[in-house]
């Protein structure tokens, strides 16, 4: 079915496809992992934040007629606020009462259903697309492969946002506090850090990152209330990388993006997810805490 001369070109093309998919996963996975590192639970409502970001951007562009920069800013802030409000309403009462993270996990599933259905009811289930504010025209890479300008942009933007996050975590007072909290939330509290403010900041950052992912996803793909479902893949990426580890989330995402594209291209498009999940299981069997996870052994 394939011609030999196309072999290398096709391969390169698939690698580029994989990187661009992985970079979007990374934006989502990092926010998810960030929340995990501090509160030690899988926030399933993360997909909801992404949808909020997407619709906020859509509304700003279409209804308010804002330009893309203003719309993106509104979207980031909007999703960040929704994330903080979600935390305050649904998670804070639980985490203050108990340290059973299972309850938080269930509450987050509930929140993800709530957010999805709020959009179904008030906005409708229709598939939407952001106006072509970001160019998606084909770009030829040295004649070897074709990619869309958008992919290059999203790669760059992912790098920029993840870099900014890294600087925030390493260079600022609150970044330091977050890293301390990731080590032990209670200790951080004892050290005089305002834990509630800290958790809010974490959620705001996670929500804003999800919104970036949401904007990219709705430009690259489409916007609809169930869009949050794609975060499952990002979760898998974060778990492969090691929950709570930000570099792990990025590496996991890239691996997953490449694995998906190469499997679909060269092995079997139907079995793409099967390969993805096998990758997950194999990684966890070899290294139960993921590639970059800390090995936590309980004190006896």
């Amino acid at each position: 079915m394939k011609e030999v001369s196309h072999g290398l070109e096709t391969f390169l093309q698939q690698v580029i496809n994989g990187l661009s998919l992985g970079s979007v996963y990374a934006l989502i996975a990092v926010g998810y992992s960030l929340v995990y590192s501090v509160l030690l639970f899988s926030n399933f409502a993360h997909g909801g934040f992404l949808v909020v970001g997407g619709y906020a951007c859509y509304a700003a562009l279409k209804v308010l007629g804002a330009n893309i920069w203003v719309a993106s800013a509104m979207s980031l802030v909007g999703a960040g606020i929704v994330a903080v409000v979600t935390e305050r309403l649904a998670y804070k009462p639980i985490r203050e009462r108990t340290n059973v993270t299972l309850y938080l996990l269930i509450a987050s599933m509930g929140m993800s259903i709530v957010i999805e259905n709020l959009f179904v009811i008030f906005v409708g289930g229709r598939f939407r697309a952001l106006p072509p504010v970001i160019p998606t025209s084909p770009v030829s890479l040295f004649g070897l492969a074709t990619t869309s300008a958008f992919d290059l942009l999203s790669l760059v933007a992912s790098v920029v946002f993840l870099g900014a996050l890294q600087i925030f975590l390493l260079r600022t007072k609150w970044g330091l506090a977050i890293r301390a909290a990731a080590y032990d939330l209670r200790t951080a509290g004892l050290m005089g850090v305002n834990v509630n403010l800290l958790v809010s900041i974490v959620f705001f950052v996670a929500g804003a990152l999800a919104a970036v992912g949401g904007i990219f996803l709705s430009v690259r793909y489409t916007l609809y209330p169930q869009l949050g479902g794609i975060t499952i893949k990002a979760f898998v990426a974060a778990v492969i990388g090691g929950l709570g580890s930000l570099p792990g989330a990025v590496v996991g995402s890239i691996i997953l993006g490449l694995a998906e594209m190469l499997t679909a291209g060269f092995i079997s498009s139907q079995l793409r997810d099967l390969v993805v999940f096998s990758l997950l299981v194999v990684t966890l069997l070899v290294k139960p805490s993921g590639l970059f996870g800390k090995n936590v052994s309980e004190k006896v």
């Binding site: 509450a107 898998v236 778990v239 139960p288």
Partner: protein, 283 residues
């Protein structure tokens, strides 16, 4: 009894059987799974194929459905139950999807995504209620035996449990395999109830629903799971006329329960202990 009521009771029995399975695993052994709908799918497909293709009687076919789910659960459990907490949850989610994927792709046997039609409607009211009662008794016996205590020990403190001589890995596998059996039987009954099954019926949404019911009723309370199944099934039916708000309410109820009473309706108690307390207060 009208067909509507009958249908609800049958579905209630099916959901309760699956719920008990998940309750054993999550509530009693402390293993959190997001992929149990896949075991329902295995049970449903096995039974469907055996009854339709090989004209087996439905009763042994249902048991076979449960057993196939058990066998698959065993091979999945041995490697993955080493994982703890969210890692197992995400892995189970992935495995559940993988099983569904195989059902979709293995067209020669499962007929793929188009579904498996023409299953005998063997799940009548007596069959559903009978299966439910038998499995209910076995389940309560199980949790009131050495095995139940062993599960709870692993849940509460797996290190202390292993230092009391429990092979915690085996106990977790036992809980998983049994819960898979219950889900497999529930799936088999669902196939007989609908006469038609499709892989998409057993997706992540279904798995989430199973776990949600267990948490709603109270982790570590088998009667809580039954009560949770009853409440959630009835509420979904009650709100049917305001269809579009149904899922929203369902999600909101999950959050509110977690915020107000995270231990679920019954906490870790069984229903009789409430009556006992009530009586004691009276006297």
């Amino acid at each position: 009894m009208s067909g509507y009521t009958e249908g609800i009771i049958i579905l209630l029995c099916i959901n309760a059987i699956a719920g008990m399975g998940v309750s054993l695993l999550t509530g009693f052994a402390g293993v959190f799974s997001l992929g149990h709908a896949a075991y329902m799918a295995l049970g449903a497909y096995t039974t469907a194929i055996l009854t339709v293709q090989y004209s087996m009687h439905w009763l042994p076919a249902i048991v076979a459905g449960g057993i196939v789910a058990m066998i698959v659960a065993y091979f999945i459990g041995v490697p993955t139950l080493r994982l703890m907490g969210d890692y197992f949850a995400i892995a189970s989610l992935g495995l559940g999807e993988a099983i569904r994927l195989i059902l979709e792709n293995w067209q020669s046997v499962t007929r793929g995504a188009r579904g498996y039609p023409g299953i005998d409607p063997y799940t009548t009211l007596p069959v559903a209620v009978g299966a439910f009662l038998i499995l209910l008794i076995l389940m309560f016996n199980f949790i009131n035996s050495r095995y139940g205590r062993a599960c709870k020990a692993c849940r509460d403190d797996y290190i202390a449990a292993s230092l009391l001589g429990f092979n915690t890995a085996n106990i977790r596998i036992l809980a998983l395999v049994l819960s898979a059996f219950y889900c497999g039987v529930a799936g088999a009954l669902l196939g007989g109830f609908l006469s038609f099954i499709q892989p998409v019926m057993f997706d992540m949404m279904k798995s989430t629903e199973l776990t949600a019911v267990v948490v709603f009723g109270g982790l570590g309370s088998m009667s809580g799971t039954l009560l949770g199944t009853l409440v959630i099934t009835l509420v979904t039916e009650l709100f049917r006329p305001i269809s579009q708000y149904r899922m929203l309410i369902y999600g909101a109820v999950l959050v509110i329960i977690m915020v107000i009473r995270p231990e679920g309706i019954l906490g870790n108690r069984e229903l009789p202990s409430f009556f006992r307390r009530f009586l004691r207060r009276d006297s």
